[in-house]
Amino acid sequence: MSRTVVNAIVNGEPVAFLGGGGQSLLDALRDELRLTGTKEGCGTGDCGACSVIVDGRLVCACLMLAPEAEGKRIETIEGLADNGHLHPLQHQFLEQAALQCGFCTPGLLMASKALLDRNPDPTETEVRYWLAGNICRCTGYDKVVRAVMDAAADLRQEEKPR
């Protein structure tokens, strides 16, 4: 399998890795960069466990080829906290017990971040439809949806001019 050097910005830092063949961005993140926080639940884009943000757009890392990351800005779960300070979404997921096994959680958090980046005040229905691509088998989504709504409120509060 021929492989080429791929240069990208991952969580704000320039990285280079070897990518090629049929390798997905997910495999590159996990196997080349050892960023194993992004999970594989299906490999077919149906479960959302591998959700990452590429140039501001929510994608399933399992559906993107690794070489396509060339020159792109990629955000993964490992970059969601800011220098050890949890993002309001992470904080609310913990406060509200919005995770049980925690396997879908990185994907849910990245998908939720992508939502709040574009819609700071989503309705419950908007949250539910936005997260419809992220399967959680443990929680029944109740606490997840509440955590996202409350994190949105926290973020709006933070951004209010004092």
Binding site: E40, E78, L94, G133, T139, G140
Partner: protein, 757 residues
């Protein structure tokens, strides 16, 4: 909610909602799950699987694959050595190890599409995939059978020529697909039916459904040159993985260490082995660590699911609604090998109700499907679907409120179950009353909506557990648990230890130990961890407190009876001593002078797990054009003993309800004429997503804390998947004006019931 009969409780930690100790790792991507582990020199393993539903393996030729550069090891069924076989206790069932081994890698026959036939370990995923293609398996294709009722018919293809139905005398003359016939009952059913005021009958079916954990099975195995091996894997029990893997490869337990990874969901489906013995057999052949990870397709084809069922039910009742007798035959798919949970279906079917006369027959039936695995309250949801549908019919026939009818028939403490246990510490009636008093039950339905109610029961188990509590030198504490944390159990373990020690929760951490670092424990299953392992944690913490009191008495030179332990501080009650209280911090810092490190480990066999009861209410609407059902409001109430961490208890109720709604409305294994699975993906096997569900309200009924547990806990994880099937179906039946009897209630079947098919 409390009925006020319990002594007042004044807990500082139990009942609170602290952040779980492993929370930050799980929201930052640091938590290591099964597939996240990496070792130097590690190889990639892949498994070659049967493309046929039923076939004899004529030959396996791996010679071309062996020559491929980068291929380091190939194994087939002959590399396993299960010897005499025997059973291993796996929580809610005993696993027949010959079957588990033949499921892990096939012997001379494959019994379902996806059945593992051979495995390779190679230097890259690409080489491993190429090697799989080079392994030539010659099959003699055999006729197959998928449906459970067809599998029981004369002339059906027989899977195992040594399967003579157990539980039948005399022994049948011919082998069949019925592995076992379970019979239980009591009273005089015939007489009760003869004098019945009302009789209700029905035939019900449910489809096979998968546990649907999002993390596929994954492990890394490393064989040492001295025969000592290590496995890192995601499972519901590191000790179970050790026992099964060692048995299948004929190893002494002391030569195998199993390190539990974080587990990305299991729901019972990770209480067995699929990959671990294969990975270790590969590693043994080549001396390098081997990682095996299933794809989602492999998860659907070759792991789980739980049984589809076919059931006949008949109820007799008085005209006032008292159920006097019931007859039921339950036919459960076991998959390719014996072992469906049909006996548990029989035991649980009427466990909510006090029925004098019962006759239950359960048939464990094999067919060309994957071997079933435990799934949350194994066997109970299907049986409850039939029973709770029949009771709904009875309520309609008598024009009774469905909750009043259930209260009239509900079991009370002291009643005998059909399987011989006496009902104790039950709060089923209180749970029914709590639902009746809830705003949801009183709320008016909008036009086009209907409401369904159903109840459910699960035993909950105790059993063998170990735990340790270590006091750190600075006066904090570490809890060592023996059970993988599948849904927040580190939090409840740490909370119960903190409560017992008198420490703030932030000063107690909890870790999950490998098989060499703590005493034996049964698996994380049977809703047993908070009860049984929690009991071990509390007893270890109590030993630590006793030791701390002894050390304080020694320091003060007073009688230990005069030492009081409260809020993490020892106080001297002897008025003749003028001494300052001693905190845990001070006692810990001086431990070297009072007897050395402060720690305790407890191993026990927990008895007194109390059964749980749930009652669910579901409001829904149906799109008349498409037949799509939408759940618009849902409430789950449950007898929980006492909730240690109420948020995670609510989460169990909500998650169980969501899985049950999926079971009722969407989920099923769909087979084609060739006996091949047509929907082995999350796209086509559709589990509920966020936009499919409303908020799920919960009622935690704490009327009867379990007196056999130090903090009153009952198991809570399994009960909530039992009621939803009928709660949903009863509402759909009300809307379409016809009893729905076959799950899932897909749009097609709902349209057909509405006469629009």
């Amino acid at each position: 909610m409390s009925d006020g009969n319990q002594p007042p409780v004044d807990f500082k930690v139990v009942g609170q909602r602290p952040i779980r100790p492993d929370g930050v790792d799980k929201v930052t991507g640091r938590a290591q799950f099964g597939a996240d582990f990496h070792l130097p020199g590690m190889l990639t393993g892949r498994i070659k699987r049967s493309p046929h539903a039923h076939a004899r393996i004529v030959s396996i030729d791996a010679s071309a694959a062996e020559k491929l550069p980068g291929v380091k090891a190939i194994v087939t069924g002959v590399d396993l050595d299960v010897g005499a076989g025997g059973d291993i206790e796996a929580g809610e069932h005993a696993a027949a190890m010959k079957d588990v081994a033949a499921n892990v890698l096939a012997g001379d026959k494959v019994f379902y599409q996806g059945h593992a036939v051979a495995a390779v370990a190679a230097t890259s995923p690409e080489v491993a995939a190429e090697a799989l293609d080079l392994i030539v398996v010659t099959y003699e294709i055999l006729p197959h059978v998928i449906d459970v009722d067809e599998a029981m018919m004369p002339g059906a293809p027989v899977l195992h020529d040594d399967m003579y139905t157990k539980g039948v005398t005399p022994k049948p003359a011919k082998p069949s697909n019925v592995a076992q016939r379970h019979v239980m009952g009591r009273g005089d059913v015939k007489a009760a039916f003869a004098s019945a005021g009302v009789v209700i009958e029905g035939r019900y079916t449910t489809a096979a459904v998968h546990q649907g954990y999002i993390e596929p099975h994954a492990c890394v195995a490393s064989w040492g040159a001295d025969g000592q091996s290590t496995i890192w894997c995601s499972s519901q029990g590191q000790f179970l993985v050790r026992a099964m893997t060692a048995r299948i490869l004929n190893l002494p337990l002391s030569d195998l260490k199993v390190i539990p990874a974080e587990i990305g969901g299991g729901f019972g489906g990770k209480t067995t082995v699929y990959l671990e013995p294969v990975a270790l057999a590969l590693s043994r052949k080549c001396g390098r660590p081997v990682k095996l990870v299933m794809s989602r397709e492999e998860v659907f084809l070759a792991s789980g699911p739980t049984s589809g069922a076919s059931m006949d039910i008949k109820l007799a009742a008085t005209k006032d609604g008292k159920i006097t007798a019931a007859e039921m035959e339950l036919r459960y798919q076991a998959g390719a090998f014996a072992g469906s949970p049909v006996n548990l279906g029989c035991m649980t079917a009427f466990a909510c109700y006090d029925v004098e006369n019962l006759a239950l027959v359960g048939l464990d039936v094999v067919s060309n499907r994957p071997k079933v695995a435990a799934y949350r309250a194994p066997g109970a949801p299907m049986a409850a679907f039939a029973v709770e549908s029949a009771i709904d019919d009875l309520a309609r026939k008598l024009d009774m409120d469905p909750i009043d009818l259930r209260i009239l028939n509900a079991v009370k403490d002291g009643a005998k179950t059909v399987y011989g246990a006496t009902v104790r510490y039950s709060a089923f009636i209180e749970t029914l009353e709590a639902v009746k008093a809830h705003p949801h039950y009183k709320a008016k339905l909008k036009p086009g909506q209907a409401r369904g109610v159903a109840a459910g029961f699960w035993f909950n188990i105790g059993g063998e557990s170990s735990a340790a509590v270590h006091v750190d030198e600075d006066g904090g504490a570490t809890v060592v648990s023996s059970n993988p944390d599948i849904g927040g159990s580190r939090a409840s373990m740490a909370m119960m230890a903190a409560e017992t020690l008198g420490l703030p929760i932030e000063r107690v951490r909890c870790t999950i130990a490998d098989t060499t670092s703590i005493g034996f424990s049964g698996s994380t299953g049977g809703s047993r961890v908070t009860f049984a392992t929690g009991m071990a944690v509390v007893e270890a913490a109590q030993k630590v407190v006793a030791d701390l009191k002894r050390r304080a008495a020694q320091t003060w030179e007073c009688d230990i009876a005069h030492v009081e332990w409260r809020d993490g501080v020892a106080t001297c009650l002897d008025p003749s001593k003028n001494v300052k209280p001693l905190s845990m911090k001070v006692l810990a810092s001086k431990s070297a002078k009072t007897g050395g490190p402060i720690a305790a480990e407890v191993s026990l066999n927990a008895q007194g797990a109390a059964a749980g009861y749930g009652v669910h209410v579901c409001d829904l609407e149906i799109d008349a054009e498409t037949g799509r059902t939408t759940v618009v409001r849902y409430t789950a109430a449950q007898d929980v003993g006492r909730a240690i961490h109420p948020a995670y208890v609510e989460g169990q109720l909500q998650g169980g309800a969501a899985q049950g709604v999926g079971w009722a409305l969407n989920e099923e294994y769909v087979y084609n004429k060739q006996g091949l699975l047509d929907n082995a993906s999350f796209l086509d096997y559709r589990m509920p997503v966020a936009s499919d569900l409303p908020m799920i309200d919960t009622i935690l009924v704490e009327a009867k804390p379990n007196p056999r547990h130090p903090y009153g806990a009952k198991g809570v994880g399994e009960v909530p998947i039992v009621p939803p099937l009928a709660a949903v179906s009863n509402a759909v039946s009300a809307l379409v004006g016809k009893r729905m009897t076959a799950l899932p209630l897909s749009p097609v079947s709902v349209l057909a019931a509405m006469g629009k098919g």
